[in-house]
Symmetry: C2
Subunit: 330 residues, 2 copies
């Protein structure tokens, strides 16, 4: 399903991303422009002509629609709002109920609430570019099984050819950006790392806690590069990362999921710390590797990750998938 959340990638262009923009503009908005909806009182969406539904989620109650608004390309995103405890008693008293099914102690109803207690959030991108449309389009995923040879002959050349910029990572490590966001740092050039909240986490509640540890060492692209030589680094991140999170957020290690991604979003070694029970994007078995498992595997086989066949999922529009297809590997 389409992902509205901010995700940082190799490509620094990605930082010009929608969620980040809205975050930035929350302050712009304070000066009060157009607070009361459309200037003319007109519902701007009444003229929207749907072209196609890009994606939707019955589970999350969202829909992403491509269409035309005043003859311009537009993407409209609808999302129902969470049900707030504060509004419950008013919902219970002021709504209309229709019985659907009754059996024994169980009944189901359809409920129509007063509109102000049951809003939707609408996001409009207009004019939308082809890139926006593609971004919100549901993408098929494919499981790739990458042998050690495939990594050398397909993945590694692809990574090198793209020469993805991780300048934003270096900016963090060098305190040229986001230094005020750093939760913990071990400055050691070989074993050290910077721990900071992921952009996906609004830091308002611990339920969806998400931090990233970024190594000071710059020559480790991913899990594939790790050998037993890196065990002190990995153990240091696990130990000090857990301690820092306990100290700052009061969350013990038994509440944390600590893992690496393969493939990662950017090729500079980093470790994810998320709250156990939070279904963070990318915590599925087809992408995540528990740091404790990585450490154990390298202990018993120094070249574990250099020799394994690694399975991961790639979206249909991922350049790496095309490379695997061209090589006849799918």
């Amino acid at each position: 399903m389409a992902d509205i959340s901010t995700k940082r990638e190799n490509n620094p262009e990605a930082s010009d991303d929608f969620s980040q923009r809205t975050k930035k503009t929350k302050t712009d908005h304070e000066d009060g422009q157009g607070e009361n909806g459309e200037e003319s009182g007109k519902n701007v969406l009444s003229g929207f002509q749907t072209t196609t539904v890009l994606s939707d989620s019955a589970r999350e109650k969202t829909i992403f629609v491509h269409g035309k608004l005043a003859e311009q390309n537009a993407v409209v995103i609808l999302e129902k709002t969470p049900i707030s405890e504060d509004t419950l008693s008013e919902i219970f008293t002021a709504s209309t109920l229709t019985l659907d099914i009754r059996n024994d102690i169980y009944s189901t109803y359809r409920l129509q609430a007063p509109p102000h207690l049951n809003e939707m959030k609408v996001t409009v991108v207009c004019p939308a570019t082809e890139k926006h449309v593609k971004k919100y389009q549901r993408q098929e995923s494919f499981l790739v099984e990458e042998t050690a040879d495939d990594y050398q002959s397909i993945t590694l050349p692809f990574i090198q050819k793209q020469s993805f910029s991780v300048q934003w990572v270096y900016n963090i490590l060098e305190k040229k950006a986001e230094s005020e966001r750093i939760v913990f740092e071990d400055p050691d050039p070989k074993l050290g790392f910077v721990l900071l909240p992921d952009f996906k986490w609004d830091q308002k509640q611990l339920d969806n806690l998400y931090l990233i540890a970024i190594t000071h060492r710059r020559n480790i692209k991913s899990l594939r590069d790790l050998t037993s030589e890196h065990l002190p680094l990995l153990q240091n991140i696990l130990q000090k990362g857990k301690e820092a999170i306990l100290q700052r957020y009061g969350l013990p290690a038994s509440k944390l999921r600590v893992y690496l991604h393969y493939q990662p979003s950017y090729y500079h070694l980093h470790v994810h710390f998320t709250k156990l029970g939070y279904e963070a994007p990318g915590c599925g078995v087809e992408r995540a590797h528990l740091l404790t498992d990585v450490i154990q595997n390298l202990h018993s086989d120094p070249d574990y990750y250099k020799t394994r066949t690694m399975s991961f999922s790639l979206r249909a529009d991922d350049g790496l998938l095309s490379q695997f297809k061209e090589a006849g590997k799918l």
Copy 2:
């Protein structure tokens, strides 16, 4: 978060589960009792007194509430309905929009839709027992790191003492139940298995495809029992399972996530086949183990799963968690 979906477990009691009940009663409902809501036209929920919110999900737009209805214990579940493509044009024309933020090509609004286009689904359990309340209560999860010794001294005795019944599994293997649901069978007593849809899958669309392969061999409790001796069995399940799903559903292996759970829900070896991209419950890295990884690990170390420290998540009310706590392991 609370799980409304049917899940089969060791304990056969679990089959007296809510989703199954609603499923069963959908036909009871056809005879039309009380179709038009409350007999008296009264909104039954207007008298509901909230005691506590058991759990909620901002992502899924659900809330589970415990309270009193006419002096009886009750659980009320609210869930917003998915946004349907069919209603989009009416939502766009007939709603009230309020501008929230505008910046460049991006704007966000709050939308108030006509109530009949924006319903909620309500489920009422009344009178509710303590068991219902507990079932819908949000449960904290804890990460447990089980060493090989912990398995022998804590987990194995716990499994044996519980002497969980897997009679429902034997009923399937012996064709005493659900034989009409079998998608594929290899009857070989050593290498064979039965493949059938999981209860969680309604089989209406492939998006959330979920099948289970259950081994004919009865002496393998879980991943912990597997050694290289079982490689032919595991490879047989992987190969023939994938072939059967391709043949029956047209879904190739590159669209499948094939994995085992540790801890499993019941201690008779079984393998999960789910559609890649479907965030199936239990596909997270803290519970799922890709079958291809299991096979590789046993190839390089016949006792891999007998010797490893295994990490998994347990709910606060899980008896096994108490055992680990009593042993001072958390």
